[in-house]
Symmetry: C5
Subunit: 87 residues, 5 copies
């Protein structure tokens, strides 16, 4: 999984039918040499802008959704505790 910070919401009115109702956010990887890489993630656990989160990618990401047929490859699986400090 990746450590990322949620930096904004993403709105896409025209999208795949099966994505309706999902919340998309822009995440930026923090820490390590991939810092600054960005990806769009689906959030189902009420994370907010500014939160440090754990991102799961690939086929495993679909395990967060109720339906395995949704075209999503990155989801927020956890919000890192504020007092959890690692460089």
């Amino acid at each position: 999984m990746l450590v990322a910070r949620l930096i904004d919401n993403v709105w896409a009115t025209r999208k795949a039918e099966s994505l309706n109702g999902l919340k998309f956010m822009l995440a930026e990887i923090i820490g390590g040499s991939s810092t600054g890489q960005r990806l769009i993630v689906v959030d189902t656990i009420s994370a907010g802008i500014g939160d440090r989160v754990i991102i799961c990618t690939g086929s495993s990401a679909r395990r967060m959704l109720e339906d395995d047929d949704i075209p999503v490859d990155a989801v927020v699986v956890g919000i890192i505790d504020e007092d959890c400090n690692f460089e």
Copy 2:
């Protein structure tokens, strides 16, 4: 998923039988440290050149197509709203 801009159409007369009828486009990742990376995507939601889109990759990409047996690993799943601004 990735944020990308569609920059051109891609034509391939000789291709896998199962790809006939699909629309291929060249996309370039925008934003973050992967900016400038390119990939070919399948579009099924009538996106056009210049659009900022959400790209889903890997096995999840096949969820956009009606048939799981098509050799496609990247599809457009949404068109980002024009008034959705994020740096």
Copy 3:
């Protein structure tokens, strides 16, 4: 999918039983910031050295083969038309 140029044939006499009969080629990604990255691909549509091709990777690549149990993660799925120009 990736845009790549086929640059050579690859011969491997000692290989997995299930790979016998498959044609392996060396491909180099062209265009965008991944230019110069190389991978070995399986070709089943009679592409040749010098051709610009569309490469499908991951589990989707196995969809080009008749058997889902073959250990292959990258295949040529199309040959880009010679008069298809994109920068």
Copy 4:
């Protein structure tokens, strides 16, 4: 698989229901040109901070867990012997 060093624990009180009870750690890739890339991994074999470990990623990572429906894409599959030296 990747060679990485475990550098810290990761705590996330708010997370996917199915992740409860799993131990998350921060790993940093060592050796080769990906050195310094970081990812969060699940450990089920009692590895500790400072250990050099073998990380398995993607759908294969779920093979370490008893349940294929858990949204995890990276796990520790082995601890490299201390006297195993490679540059």
Copy 5:
């Protein structure tokens, strides 16, 4: 697939139960702009240190093993012929 050179053996006494009996080796990608990236691979075709090999990754890698439930994401699928020269 990737072109890599096998550079060492990797020993991990403490590892996933299902990995017992498998031979792990350290491989380094050669050629192209990913040169120098390293990964740990499983070898089942008696490759040796110094051999140039073809590496298959991801879910396809598990196709080399008899059991789809083994947490392995990279395997040697072929040994490149010594007289096969490509720049």
